[in-house]
């Protein structure tokens, strides 16, 4: 996918009757895409979905109960570049209706209770700062205590959030350590990777699923394609760092299209007897 397409997608599906698909460049009827869970009816390109929408798509109707909604980001570094971090946070909160990049809670998937976390790539590129790290850690800890299957749907172009500096990096260790305890206790973790899942998010919880699913043609990797290109100074191969590339190299279990996600998760839970 081109950089421009990725950029356009982050803003979400443009409002209006018609929209241009970033995958096939065709003009499509928005309503048809919506009915197909924000997937292009012509080329099967998976558009961005917000965390709230994702929860609706994955859980049984009306079963979601949000956890730790009262956590809010702080500004421990008093980070300021062109605009102070606190101001940027405010405008991201206003724009997305979220107070940080992850929503967590519990709900039912085809009548099976699960612990569910979703990161939203629209909020600071879905990057992980202290709130995302804390919410996910508490989610994993509760899943451990209550012996619930754990589902985390990742979408993050940002990885660890720069504006909270080293504390963001440490969230990777914090969540991973909680997952290690969950794993020891016999928990089942299904990690779902969506476009994009990069950097510190890819290099922590997103890669630690017992089962790892990815949506088709998502960008997934450690280093950003631009960084790699600048380092090795050669063109990157076609399809590099896509879901299909990762499947081929053995890092994900299944590519699952959006309309099948709920049933695939339910089936995995059944197989694992959870």
């Amino acid at each position: 996918m081109s950089q421009a397409a990725a950029k356009r997608q982050k803003r979400g599906v443009p409002e209006g009757l018609w929209q241009k698909c970033p995958g096939c460049q065709e003009t499509i009827y928005s309503k048809t895409a919506e009915e197909r869970l924000n997937v292009c009816p012509l080329c099967d390109h998976h558009f961005y979905v917000s965390a709230r929408e994702r929860i609706v798509q994955v859980l049984d109707v009306g079963t979601f109960e949000e956890w730790d909604a009262d956590l809010k980001p702080a500004d421990p570094l008093e980070f300021s570049d062109k605009r102070p971090y606190v101001e940027k946070l405010k405008s991201e909160q206003k724009r997305t209706g979220l107070n940080d990049a992850a929503l967590t809670g519990t709900g039912m998937i085809r009548a099976r209770r699960v612990a569910l976390g979703v990161t939203d790539s629209a909020f600071f590129m879905g990057s992980m700062g202290s709130v995302v790290g804390e919410r996910l850690t508490r989610l994993v800890e509760r899943a451990t205590e209550q012996d619930l299957p754990l589902i985390i749907v990742s979408g993050s172009g940002g990885g660890a959030r720069m504006h909270e500096g080293i504390l963001s990096l440490m969230q990777m260790a914090k969540v991973s350590a909680a997952l290690a305890r969950y794993g020891e206790a016999g928990g089942l973790f299904v990690s779902v990777l969506t476009n994009p899942t990069m950097g510190g998010v890819a290099a922590s919880f997103a890669s630690l699923g017992d089962v790892v699913f990815a949506e088709p043609r998502a960008l997934i990797g450690f280093a950003g394609p631009r960084t790699i290109k600048a380092t090795i100074k050669i063109e990157l191969p076609k399809g590099f760092q896509t879901s299909e590339f990762l499947l081929e190299h053995g890092y994900i279990d299944r590519i699952v299209s959006r309309d099948k996600l709920k049933s695939e998760i339910a089936r995995t839970i059944d197989y694992c007897g959870k």
Partner: protein, 329 residues
């Protein structure tokens, strides 16, 4: 104290004094005046070095942490440890030169060493990609650490990397996966782990061998979520703003301690670790011995609980009605 080489702008005045001192030292006939000047110069050099190094800016700290003469893992291995028996390879793909692993002896302790190595000569540097590890490096590290846990050897991780290598092969072989797996496994390893950031703590590449019971940082080392150049590139679209980014990221040792990310700061000799490898190595050695003695009395289950709690506490956020002021560190 070794003379600094030319290079850093902020060290130039010290370097100039050293040049003058050398000139005087080379004079065959030393009059009383010359000897007086030499004495004066030495005092001046010490004072100036102290002055410059007591007030390094974050960007200057990065330059010191990357100094070409800064002691690396191999230097600590030869100066602080009594023996090093290198163990190679990840038994899977290769033997990454950017992470060196093996048995070592330290005082009465037998330990497992895992350390980033940046190389000194051009040949060494290119063999280890300037200290940027590939997935096989992290797999090698994990393999040796698992073995250490099996035989009850304490693990010492020396962190010094600009970051994990960004390349095609690295992605193909699961760079994200191995870093995640290392943190996951290190958090539960049943042996004590001490991590010391000796130079650059470059993001995930550092954290991939950075989960331990104690994390220490050398005074002029840094540990960051992103390189100052990377941060500048994202915000200001130019690497030239690296010094501004270095300021904003709060990654110097004092900040790391304040933020609760590192437990201890190991002081460097006057003028930085690169001035005196022996003294730096002996300070690191003393720290490690003291910490090994302290941690080896703790039962392993308690150790794991404390390790978990230590990382569990990291992060700053607001909770139900707290004001921003309460959350700042």
């Amino acid at each position: 104290m070794d003379a600094p080489g030319p290079g850093f702008e902020f060290e130039q005045p010290i370097y100039d004094l050293h040049c003058r001192l050398r000139e005087l030292d080379e004079q065959s006939e030393k009059t009383t005046e010359v000897e007086d000047e030499v004495r004066g110069l030495r005092r001046e050099i010490a004072d100036l070095t102290k002055q410059v190094y007591s007030d390094l800016s974050p960007w200057q700290t990065v330059q010191v942490a990357r100094h070409k003469s800064r002691p690396h893992t191999v230097d600590y291995l030869s100066l602080a440890f009594d023996e090093f028996v290198e163990l190679h390879g990840d038994k899977h793909f290769g033997d990454d030169q950017a992470i060196r692993t093996g048995f070592a002896k330290l005082d009465q302790f037998k330990v497992m060493i895992v350390g980033h190595e940046k190389g000194r000569t051009y040949k060494e540097k290119s063999a280890c990609y300037f200290g940027c590890s590939h997935p096989e490096g992290y797999r090698k590290a994990m393999g040796k650490m698992r073995m250490a846990a099996k035989y009850g050897l304490p693990i010492i991780c020396l962190i010094d990397t600009p970051g994990a290598y960004p390349g095609i092969g690295a992605e193909e072989r699961g760079q994200a996966q191995v870093i995640a797996e290392n943190m996951y496994a290190m958090s539960r390893l049943k042996t004590l782990i001490i991590c010391v950031v000796i130079g650059e703590g470059g993001s995930g590449g550092a954290l991939g061998i950075g989960v331990g019971d104690r994390v220490a940082v050398l005074q002029h080392a840094y540990y960051s979520v992103i390189s100052p150049e990377g941060c500048a590139g994202i915000i200001w679209k130019s690497h030239e703003y690296a010094s501004k980014a270095a300021e904003a990221l709060r990654f110097t040792s004092d900040h790391l301690k304040k933020l609760g990310v590192v437990d201890d700061i190991i002081a460097e000799p006057l003028g930085g670790a690169h001035r005196d490898h022996h003294q730096m190595a002996s300070r690191v050695k003393m720290y490690l011995i003291k910490t090994l003695n302290e941690l080896s009395t703790i039962p392993v289950d308690d150790l794991l609980q404390q390790r978990y709690d230590k990382f569990r506490r990291m992060g700053v956020f607001l909770e139900s009605g707290e004001s921003a002021a309460e959350a700042t560190v």
